[in-house]
């Protein structure tokens, strides 16, 4: 116990040192348009067990801190996410896991008076660089929300919303996208006969899968899922989990979840956040069977408040 507490203190001081370094590095490595060289050395998190090579990295966070006004949402996150993998983020409520997830495609912009420090890049593009094209970013990094939120439009229109924003107007092409995405999201069989029905007439689980299909329609590199199953029953949850497993490899998926069994079932790597900090990040099997940090152990064994 005592030893672990010590290492925690050591980690803190290390990360502080890292932060001092990481800011100038990110500034140097970022060119004028916010591009970061993909082969530049990746800062590995000190709490990470298996390093990810530069070419396998899609998301790089180096000393990333997010402020709501003067309050820190997440603090000093250094974490890399591997292309094509499923990464789960777990942690107690208010620990900043959603803040971090939403920072990746800048959904936090909707909240006034926020600012960031440190580096966060997706696919070699600095997310918070002023030249970043938000439309491109969000189309590359799709998002699925906690509650199913289909638009009050037909199923067809829901799926084609993104492609239409990209300027695709060709009816045949749109039809093709709709079919492909609905098949990918494992909902095609259920809705293929009434694509013109309102999306709100679907059940919650179907709506969530439709939202995933809608996200896939913009052809993203990544899909961020913010507690995608918390509003669903176990059956619908199982379907979504199957879907995540099926999408793995094609898309990089980051899942925020409160459900540790779910994290264990679907993810390759798991990150544990607590009080705005990244406590532990590693292979899911290892993290759940042999946590290195005391907080992680407390949390996954249920001793944590």
């Amino acid at each position: 116990m005592l030893v672990k507490t010590d290492s925690n203190i050591i980690r803190k001081s290390e990360s502080k040192g890292l932060k001092m370094e990481s800011i100038p590095i990110s500034k140097n490595s970022a060119s004028k348009n916010g591009k970061i060289k993909l082969d530049s050395p990746v800062k590995q998190s000190p709490v990470q067990d298996t390093p990810i090579s530069a070419e396998r990295t899609i998301v790089r966070a180096e000393g990333f801190t997010f402020f709501y006004g003067s309050k820190k949402g997440v603090e000093d996150i250094t974490m890399n996410i591997e292309t094509g993998s499923v990464t789960a983020i777990i942690g107690p409520s208010g620990c900043g896991k959603s803040t971090f997830l939403r920072s990746i495609n800048r959904m936090n912009d909707l909240i006034p008076q926020t600012r960031t420090e440190g580096l966060l890049s997706v696919g070699g593009q600095d997310v918070y660089h002023k030249s970043t094209n938000l439309v491109n970013l969000r189309q590359q990094v799709g998002m699925v929300f906690q509650r199913p939120n289909p638009f009050a439009k037909s199923i067809y229109d829901n799926v084609t919303y993104g492609p239409k924003l990209q300027g695709i107007r060709n009816k045949a092409k749109l039809d093709e996208i709709v079919e492909k995405c609905l098949i990918d999201a494992a909902i095609w069989e259920e809705v293929k006969d009434d694509l013109n029905k309102s999306a709100l007439a679907l059940s919650g689980g179907q709506q969530q899968r439709l939202c995933i299909a809608r996200t896939l329609a913009t052809k993203p590199k990544m899909v961020l899922m913010d507690e995608p199953c918390s509003a669903l029953d176990p059956l619908a949850t199982a379907r979504i989990e199957d879907l995540i497993a099926a999408l793995k490899g094609i898309y990089t998926i980051v899942v925020v979840t409160h459900n540790m069994q779910q994290a264990a079932r679907v993810s390759d790597r798991t990150a544990f956040f607590c009080l705005g900090k990244l406590i532990e990040y590693g292979m899911t099997d290892r993290l759940f069977t042999n946590p290195r940090q005391k907080e992680t152990e407390d949390y996954i064994t249920g001793r944590f408040g």
Binding site: N105, M107, L110, P112, L134, V135, N136, R138, Q139, G142, M143, F145, R147, N149, P150, F151, A152, K153, Y161, G162, L165, Q166, K197, S198, A199, L200, A201, L202, C211, R214, T215, T218
Partner: protein, 543 residues
């Protein structure tokens, strides 16, 4: 015990809330029923033959042959009344007799000149004719029966069959004879009183029956027809038969008004005269002279009216109200929704935005007459340079703008944030996500604001008072600059009739007909909006 009390509270709440709904419906009916009861007679009433004449002449409607037959029948019935009137008025209306005598003398002079009578003979005959005329005029003017007799005798003395046979002078002799017979029954001392009263009787008969067939068609359309409605006819009949007499009160200190019949044997002005039978006769045969018939005048809603709203419908008023309302909506909806969108989506929460919000809330409570004066002082004076549809509708738009902004703001704010997140997550910009996701979702709420303001814009009088409404404005000329023309409006027309003059008393159906039309119009507009809204929200709810 506690459960009991809680249940009692529950029941009380249920009773109170359902009771208030019942009360609301009752109040609505209480408000609507009298309006409709008074307004419906504008459309459903007993139309007289005059109404059918008016419809044929002004609007080209109805069966001409049947109408002609009807007109003849009624004129025959009316003839009886006119015979009595004419006979009596000859003795009273000396001005007419005087004119007649003068005309006859002038005609005679012309005839003499035409026949190229030798000068001496001409002078002589003309002199005699002049003498006869002067005697006649003196006789007409006099109120002393002896003096009149003397003048008439003098004329008789001048009678010369040989010289005047077949000339206008002979007619003068006939007049002399008639007049002698007439004054035998007339109390000459009352001639002045009779003359005044007779004017009233003639006017009321005119109001009942319109101009006589041999009379020239009057210029005013209002004067061209008698009472077109049975209720109006009955009203005029009352004015014809009853007179107001001022008699000393019981204590003899003051005078009090008393309604008496004009042919009342004791107090009536025409008691015992030759005119007396006219009143009961008119009462008796009024139905034959007017031929009332149940009429459904649905064209009331589209017909033009004669100047002064006396006859016809409220078509131009309906058109004007629709124009003003819809145009006002065209201005205020985009402006209001854009403002609301700005306030919710773009503006932060700083001091200026707070002040703007306070201003909007205050504007919603400003009395409408203030908007009217502003419309006159700004839109009329600086933008359109003349009162018209455009300035009036801009004023109305300004009036309803705060309502629309507030309702839209609430509706846009009520759209779940997840909708915006979803749209943005798919790469939509702020404007795009507002236009394609937020606005459709806020649609029903915005429409609620529109419904509220639609009714208000349609019914307001004060804002358009100075900005472009006129009681007798021309019908909009859609080929030209109709937006610069003044227009009629239901609300303003109703106001105008009410404050206008005695017209409100004579055509109450018109006044309430306008109110009814306004209610129906607003109801129709609202029903359309409500149907659109329910379709929208059904679609939003995924049904």
């Amino acid at each position: 015990m506690q459960v009991r009390i809680r249940q009692a509270w529950n029941h009380l709440f249920t009773i109170l809330s359902s009771g208030s709904i019942v009360l609301l419906v009752a109040a609505l009916l209480l408000f609507l029923i009298p309006m409709l009861r008074k307004g419906i007679p504008a459309v459903v009433f007993r139309g007289t033959v005059e109404f059918r004449k008016m419809q044929a002449e002004l609007f080209d409607r109805g069966d001409t042959m049947a109408l002609q037959k009807e007109t003849e029948q009624t004129w025959q019935a009316r003839q009886e009344i006119y015979t009595i009137l004419d006979h009596f008025s000859r003795g009273i209306d000396t001005e007419k007799l005087t004119d007649e005598a003068k005309d006859l003398y002038r005609d005679y002079g012309q005839i003499l000149r035409y026949q190229e009578t030798p000068k001496e003979q001409y002078t002589e005959l003309r002199g005699r004719a002049k003498e006869i005329r002067d005697h006649l005029l003196d006789a007409f003017e006099s109120t002393d029966k002896d003096e009149i007799a003397a003048h008439l005798d003098a004329i008789e003395a001048l009678r010369d069959e040989a010289a005047f046979s077949g000339t206008p002078v002979e007619k003068m002799f006939t007049m002399t004879g008639d007049f002698r017979k007439l004054i035998a029954t007339v109390d000459l001392s009352k001639r002045d009183i009779f003359a005044d009263e007779l004017e009233v009787v003639k006017e009321e008969l005119y109001n009942l029956f319109g101009p006589r067939p041999d009379e020239q068609t009057p210029q005013l359309a209002m004067k061209r027809f008698g009472a077109t409605r049975w209720d109006v006819a009955e009203k005029h009949l009352t004015f014809l038969v009853w007179q107001e007499k001022w008699i000393p009160s019981d204590d003899g200190q003051t005078l009090v008004a008393k309604q008496v019949r004009r042919d009342d044997p004791l107090e009536g002005s025409f008691a015992g005269t030759e005119l007396a039978p006219l009143f009961s006769l008119t009462e008796k045969i009024l139905k034959d002279t007017m031929k009332p018939r149940f009429t459904l005048y649905w064209q009331y809603f589209i017909d033009d009216s004669t100047p002064g709203h006396y006859f016809g419908g409220v078509g131009p008023e309906v058109l004007g109200t629709l124009l003003l309302t819809l145009l006002a909506m065209c201005f205020s909806i985009p402006l209001g929704v854009i403002s609301a969108a700005y306030l919710v989506e773009y503006a932060g929460d700083n001091l200026i935005v707070k002040i703007i919000r306070i201003c909007i809330n205050t504007l919603a409570g400003v009395p409408s007459i203030v908007y009217g004066l502003f419309g006159m002082a700004f839109f009329v004076a600086y933008i359109t340079k003349q009162p018209g549809v455009l300035s009036a509708s801009m004023t109305l738009a300004l009036l309803v703008l705060p309502v629309i902004i507030r309702a839209s703001e609430e509706a846009i704010r009520a759209v779940p944030q997840t909708y915006r997140e979803a749209a943005m997550g798919l790469g939509a910009g702020k404007f795009r996500s507002f236009l394609t996701v937020t606005l459709p979702a806020a649609g029903p709420g915005i429409l609620t604001g529109i419904i509220l303001s639609l009714s208000r814009a349609a019914g307001e009088t004060a804002p358009i008072l100075f900005a472009g409404a006129a009681a007798l404005a021309p019908i909009p000329d859609f080929g030209g600059k109709w937006w610069l023309q003044e227009t009629r409006a239901l609300s303003y027309g109703c106001y105008d009739i009410t404050v206008g003059d005695k017209l409100a008393m004579m055509v109450p159906h018109k006044q309430f007909g306008m109110v009814m039309t306004l209610i129906i119009l607003v109801l129709c507009l609202n029903v359309i909006a409500i149907v659109i809204r329910s379709r929208m929200s059904k679609k939003l709810r995924g049904m």
